[in-house]
Amino acid sequence: MADLTLDARGLQCPMPVVKAKKAIDSMQSGQVLEILATDPGSKADFAAWSRATGHDLVLATQEGRTFRYEVRKK
């Protein structure tokens, strides 16, 4: 269960990643941020962003046109 949900649907690069950074900054280590996005580029981008920042991308799924990610803060 996510501790916080970021709805980035409809937003284009770089906004989903930038908003995720701002959201995760407000969280505690170990908490999970859920991100909803419609940008197909976000699939590769959240994986790269997690590698760069050290957060753990624990889930990446697609339901219809919506991509759902869960990132555990390091």
């Binding site: 937003l11 284009q12 770089p14 990643v17 950074k21 790269a48």
Partner: protein, 160 residues
């Protein structure tokens, strides 16, 4: 030693289609935890010019250059296919329709994420530009030697 966590961008263009990648890469790098510095030189200075459209300059030639390139992130034009303003207008319309952020929003986002913005002293002087002509939060102007020092310490260097 170059540091993989440092990014230096030399922004030399004041075109809309260059300002987008500059600010998108800078904000994304900052959101990924990197220390990002952008050096604004030549027409690139017009990305961080205030949006008031004010004509700047110290003589008729610099004033005329500033009249031709008003600058401010909101006023940038395409590098090509301008078609008397129609190309730029259409590009902006397409971006709005696709919910791409405005340049001024990306600029504010960069500042919020701690991207350092440093203008080039020589071109500022040449254009007759003062710190008052630039947006708030821009650092004091420097020369090429400072930019070179940053570049040599950065793992990622982009010239746009």
């Amino acid at each position: 030693m170059s540091d993989a966590n440092k990014v230096t961008i030399i922004a030399c263009s004041g075109d809309l289609d260059k300002a987008y990648p500059i600010l998108i890469l800078a904000s994304t790098a900052a959101a990924s935890g990197k220390d990002v510095t952008i050096f604004f030189s030549f027409w690139g200075l017009f990305i961080i010019k205030k949006n008031d459209g004010k004509i700047i300059g110290k003589d008729w030639m610099t004033k005329m250059l500033s009249w031709m390139h008003r600058g401010g992130a909101e006023r940038l034009k395409l590098s090509q296919y301008r078609m008397g303003g129609m190309g730029t207008w259409m590009m902006n319309q397409v971006f709005r329709k696709n919910k791409v952020a405005k340049l001024s929003e990306l600029l504010a986002m960069c500042q919020e994420l701690g991207v350092r913005m440093i203008p080039c002293q020589m071109t500022m002087d040449a254009f007759g530009m003062t710190m008052n002509d630039l947006i708030d939060g821009v650092e004091q102007p420097v020369g090429a030697a400072t930019a070179l020092e940053y570049a040599s310490e950065s793992g990622i260097n982009w010239f746009i």
